[in-house]
């Protein structure tokens, strides 16, 4: 018998990827391309319904110039970055802390606390914001909202960040717990016999072994921070501290649906998407270099 392994010719792989490819074309490439086209156009006659009675004319880079000169967008990016600067270290740090604590032998109530910390993951951002919103609101606050102003010019960043952290810690904690479980138990045993304390083990053995998983969690959190929308948008009806253009995605929504300036919104979307892809690509390279080291 000939021992040559011959791959059979089959059309199956093409059929299997077909649904995904069609969905990608229809819901990623076509909308993205359409936004790109709109971003280079301007509406000739203002008013009327979405592009039905008016004509679109080529406008070159005018929209992009207007977007880059849009100070409100830049302030929105600044606010998004500020919230991210709080959310990313807080989420990853707390997730790591809880995962390490759960890994300490003889810790009590591990099952219950693990579940409790994970549960907010199942709560939609909008619903979480409604809950925290009522906790912040002076009229209903059980956590001192009548003494502390959760919507002050500085406080509002922490109030928004807190909701994101609350929703994200549990998922990242579980990811880190799972990664910890793959650390061979002999490593623990050997360290214990050498008289290593739990704290020493966490710092010198577990955290270095967890580095790829920690980097992965950081990437998830960076991606989430770029998409900041639900929390500030839902807090807006509760407080004047949040404008309708508070973060870039709210600004894009506002341009598209309130001001009906689709071309400006499209140019902002294109720039924002490119910037977001760049940031997450850089973050993922960082993750890979961490995973390799």
């Amino acid at each position: 018998m000939a021992a040559t392994r011959r791959l059979r010719r089959t059309a199956l792989p093409y059929l299997l990827v077909l649904p995904a490819v069609v969905l990608f074309l229809l819901f990623v490439l076509v909308p993205g391309g359409y936004a790109l086209v709109l971003s280079f156009q301007a509406r000739k006659v203002s008013g009327g319904l979405l592009g039905s009675s008016t004509t679109q004319v080529f406008a070159g880079l005018d929209n992009y110039r207007a977007v880059l000169a849009d100070t409100e967008l830049w302030s929105g990016i600044g606010r998004m970055v500020l919230v991210g600067v709080i959310v990313i270290p807080a989420t990853v740090g707390l997730a790591l802390l809880f995962a390490l604590l759960l890994d300490v032998p003889r810790v009590r109530l591990a099952k219950v606390t693990r579940l409790a910390i994970f549960l907010p993951y199942a709560v939609p951002g909008v619903i979480a914001t409604l809950m925290w919103g009522f906790l912040y609101l002076p009229a209903t606050s059980p956590i001192g909202g009548d003494h502390v102003d959760f919507f002050s010019s500085v406080g509002v960043f922490f109030s928004v960040a807190n909701i994101s952290v609350w929703g994200a810690v549990g998922f990242n904690m579980i990811v880190l717990c799972t990664a910890l479980r793959s650390v061979p138990t002999e490593v623990h045993e050997a360290a214990r016999i050498d008289g290593c304390t739990e704290l020493g083990m966490a710092l010198r053995i577990k955290i270095p072994l967890l580095r790829p998983a920690i980097a992965m969690c950081a990437l998830f959190t960076v991606l989430g921070s770029l998409q900041l929308f639900n929390e500030p948008n839902t807090l807006k009806p509760l407080s004047n501290a949040i404008s309708s253009t508070w973060v870039p995605l709210m600004k894009i929504y506002d341009d598209a649906f309130v001001d009906s300036d689709l071309n400006h919104a499209a140019a902002t979307s294109v720039l924002f998407t490119a910037a977001a892809l760049l940031v997450s690509w850089v973050a993922s390279r960082f993750v890979q270099s961490r995973a390799a080291s």
Binding site: L12, P31, G195, L226
Partner: protein
């Protein structure tokens, strides 16, 4: 023997309990607040539940609001998340299996596109998706909310990893020698071996759709097609003018949180998050 018997660890336990409290307090407070009538909400001690029948009247008010539309939203949310979750998992399973098990033309390109898709914040596509769907007259329909959520690059990526780790090529070779067709191998061997990973992909996508706000918010202005997130948000926006609606929003929030928590507790043991943490290698 130098084996040290370890004392119970009070400090780690305390820290974990504090973390757990931080995570459950908002839900507990919503539970307490939902028992209060409209006037009690702003007048009574915030941590004490009320037994004056406030919960029942809140439930009745919420169910009566706008002809029981709240329950409609709940049903919509389940519909979107369940149908979208199953369909997206099947699409991901098929593509992930093909990418892992076959070498074919365009495979590398496709995989790179998928990786870029994982990094792309999907939410920025919602408005362009709306513009395209409104051109073809689909905006405002159930399909407009459902279809864009069926392409899940992260799900495809996870399925590829899981297929490579769980479906041995040798098994497929054996099946081929026995004369099984390629599709039959996928449907009977591949899908079956991939099931644990698929459950995780399904749950991740179910939660993602259940939690999604911007896409349905953009796609539909017909409140009969809202999922819970958009419905409660619209209720809150009306409530900004009428404080009496706050009790309804609070009760609705409680009812929105409970079913997912129950679903989660029930499906807990099916989670295979080692897939997400990179512990499964294909």
């Amino acid at each position: 023997m130098t084996v040290v018997r370890r004392r119970p660890a009070p400090l780690p336990t305390l820290l974990l309990v504090l973390g757990a409290l931080y995570c459950v307090v908002p839900t507990l407070w919503i539970l307490v607040a939902a028992t209060k009538s409209r006037t009690e909400l702003f007048s009574t001690s915030t941590y004490l539940p009320s037994f004056g029948g406030g919960l029942l009247s809140n439930l009745a008010d919420l169910s009566a609001y706008d002809g029981g539309i709240f329950w409609h939203w709940m049903l919509n949310s389940f519909g979107y998340a369940a149908i979208g979750g199953v369909a997206a998992s099947l699409v991901s399973a098929a593509a992930g299996y093909a990418l892992a098990m076959y070498r074919f033309r365009g495979r590398t390109l496709l995989f790179n596109v998928i990786l870029a898709g994982v990094l792309l914040p999907q939410i920025v596509l919602a408005i362009p998706q709306y513009l395209v769907l409104s051109k073809v007259g689909l905006a405002g329909s159930y399909l407009a909310v459902l279809l864009p959520q069926l392409f899940n690059p992260y799900g495809i990526y996870l399925c590829r990893i899981y297929a490579a780790a769980s479906v041995p090529q040798t098994l497929l070779e054996a099946g081929r020698l026995d004369g099984a067709g390629e599709f039959r191998l996928f449907a009977t061997v591949g899908l079956r071996l991939m099931t644990p990973g698929l459950v995780t992909v399904f749950l991740l996508q179910f939660i993602a759709i259940w939690n999604n706000f911007l896409l349905p918010f953009v796609m539909t202005s017909d409140d009969g097609k809202f999922p819970l997130t958009v419905g409660l948000y619209s209720l809150l926006r009306h409530g900004a003018a009428e404080a009496s609606l706050y009790s309804l929003v609070i009760t609705g929030t409680l009812l929105a949180v409970l079913p997912v928590i129950v679903l989660f507790l029930a499906l807990q043991r099916y989670w295979r998050l080692d897939l997400v943490s990179g512990a499964v290698r294909g």
